[in-house]
């Protein structure tokens, strides 16, 4: 134990980090290329859409030149990417304002919504998963597994509609949609995000409850748990101090991966509750052919997912040396 050098796996971890980082950059570049190309295939000339059917060909040509749409695709792509790297997201065609401003404004809805959904899913799923694992093959366990199966089968947008039906239409406790804005009413805004967050978090809770259960069951079969029990430790200490701390690693991994999926899933939920979030922004921008907004927001969401996946991979490799040595 006198050895003071770097841990035996340090070089393995560095190599792994470099490899993963290169893959991350390549993936982000590929994602940006795919999005850019897809945006250029979408039928409908943005200049014609902005000016309407009455526009003269000269006016359309002038606007195309102003928007940079007359330049070769590669030049447009490089220009877009270099502006993005400098932090300039460009202007929205429809709103006539900076996309960065729009994104920040909409992120103030989608960000808290995603966080609230994650929080809801963790608060529900982890205790349920622990309960099911510690009461295996008993009615409580079957109840949790049933909840998990039902949660996986219910589409988030239907869960949203049912919540509106119960809490807005019947009980009048909540509004059926809309968002007052943080500056106008903090509690009103929190309240308007609550039902969508529950609808969005419900499915994740079902997945996480099942995962917590199976992960904890696996750990509870390990020898060191038997040793802890044979030492006479209280069952609560065995479960929370020894078993759960190890069982939580895969749960955290999946939770990390779900954050990105939740952001994407917010598109439909924001439609259900008429929330002015990123998802609704991109959905409306697709219909309005506001290409700069679509490509920037889609790239942003995809980048968040790719980066979160990268961080989760790193965390997992850090916690489980077998991954980086593979």
């Amino acid at each position: 134990m006198d050895w003071k050098g770097p841990p035996p796996c340090a070089s393995g971890m560095t190599t792994y980090l470099i490899k993963r980082f290169i893959v991350l950059i390549l993936t982000l570049l590929l994602v940006s290329m795919v999005i850019f190309v897809v945006m250029r295939i979408i039928p409908g000339d943005p200049a014609e859409i902005i000016l309407g059917i009455q526009a003269t060909p000269e006016a359309v040509a002038a606007l195309r030149a102003q928007l940079g749409l007359d330049r070769p695709l590669t030049i447009q792509y490089i220009g877009w990417l270099s502006e993005l790297v400098r932090g300039d997201m460009g202007q929205s065609i429809n709103y006539g304002v900076s996309i960065a401003g729009l994104v920040v404004q909409r992120l103030a809805v989608t960000g808290p919504l995603t966080l609230m959904a994650v929080l809801f899913s963790v608060v529900i799923s982890v205790p349920l998963g622990i309960y099911a694992a510690t009461h295996q093959n008993r009615p409580g366990d079957y109840g949790v597994m049933l909840f998990s199966q039902v949660g996986l089968a219910v589409p988030a947008f239907w869960a949203g509609l049912l919540l509106i039906l119960l809490f807005a239409v019947r009980l009048h406790w909540f509004a059926s949609g809309g968002f007052p804005g943080w500056s106008r009413s903090f509690w009103g805004s929190m309240k308007s995000l609550l039902l969508p967050a529950v609808a969005l978090g419900f499915i994740r809770a079902a997945v996480l409850a099942r995962l917590t259960r199976s992960s904890l069951l696996e750990v509870l079969r390990e020898d060191y748990i038997q040793t802890a029990r044979s030492k006479g430790l209280a069952e609560r200490v065995v479960i929370y101090k020894h078993a759960f701390r190890n069982a939580v690693i895969p749960v955290l991994t999946i939770l990390g991966l779900q954050i990105g999926q939740l952001m994407a899933g917010a598109i439909i939920i924001e439609q259900v509750f008429f929330l002015p979030g990123l998802g609704r922004l991109v959905y409306l921008a697709i219909n309005q052919r506001d290409l700069p907004v679509v490509q920037t927001v889609v790239l942003l969401i995809a980048s968040v997912i790719v980066i979160v996946n990268f961080l989760v991979d790193l965390m997992y490799a850090f916690l489980d040396p077998r991954i980086r040595l593979d």
């Binding site: 509106i164 239409v169 069951l217 959905y283």
Partner: protein, 275 residues
């Protein structure tokens, strides 16, 4: 077959999905009313003897539309899984056999597609090619390709190492013949299980796209579209927002349970692991 039906998940899943499939098949030759014919004198009616699940805002029979929606969902599931499985197994087989540059390229492309948010991409694809059931089936199917490619590659890697493969090669079989006759039949079980689960996911995805107005187009019935139309009338006709959603949840639950049951039965090691 008896061992399948001894599995509780399989049995329940089989019953539920059989009811859904039977409803869809019956709707091809019989529905209580024409699912697209409007009857404004009987709009937004509550469930009754004449209309078991009520009528919508155009007076169309909800039960008939749910039955027609089942056909849509099943077709979407079948086509999407076929696209994903067809291309995925083909690419995964090449990757599993090659293990060189082709493997690396296929797997990296698969990673790229896998990491992309499917909902967002499906919306983009339908935005590019226009909304409709055909495009939504393809959009969903494309995102199944990496799932089946990864599964095929991972499963076939170990099969290629087996003694009977060496024996087949020693007997003079070509690699293609070995792949078709020995490797693929031995990885069918996980592919079928995954196919059943992805079938359920396709039903959910189609409902989501139709809810956004990007999937099935009116006047055709789709469960997601029915829910979108129901949102305006939730105060007066809550059943419109309940029954189609219930149909989606039941169909997904049925096929998920069927997939779970198949997995438990085809891979007994999993039962041990779960315990």
């Amino acid at each position: 077959m008896r061992r399948f039906f001894r599995n509780r998940n399989f049995l329940i899943g089989f019953i539920i999905s059989s009811i859904i499939v039977a409803g869809a098949l019956i709707s091809l030759c019989y529905t209580p009313y024409d699912p697209t014919t409007m009857d404004i004198h009987h709009r937004l009616e509550a469930p009754s003897h004449a209309h078991w699940l009520g009528t919508d805002h155009y007076g169309r029979d909800v039960l008939s539309r749910i039955m027609q929606g089942a056909v849509n969902s099943i077709i979407v599931g079948l086509v999407a899984v076929s696209i994903g499985m067809g291309f995925g197994v083909f690419l995964g087989s090449i990757a599993g056999y090659d293990r060189g540059i082709a493997d690396e390229v296929i797997m990296r492309l698969s990673d790229l597609l896998y990491g992309f948010p499917a909902v967002l991409s499906a919306i983009l694809i339908t935005a590019v090619f226009g909304p409709g059931i055909v495009i939504s089936m393809m959009a969903i199917g494309v995102f199944y390709i990496p799932i089946f490619a990864r599964l095929t590659r991972a499963s076939s890697l170990s099969v290629w190492e087996r003694d009977y493969i060496t024996a087949a090669r020693a007997a003079g079989r070509t690699d293609l013949s070995t792949l078709v006759r020995h490797v693929l039949p031995n990885i069918m079980a996980p592919l079928i299980v995954q196919g059943t689960i992805q079938f359920a996911v396709a039903i959910l995805a189609e409902a989501g796209l139709s809810y956004l107005g990007l999937g099935t187009q009116p006047p055709q019935a789709s469960w997601g579209l029915m829910l979108q139309e129901a949102q305006t009338f939730m105060g007066t006709a809550p059943g419109l927002a309940i029954f189609p959603g219930l149909a989606i949840a039941l169909a997904v639950l049925g096929f998920n349970l069927l997939g779970d049951g198949l997995r438990d039965t085809l891979d007994p090691r999993l039962i041990q692991a779960r315990r």
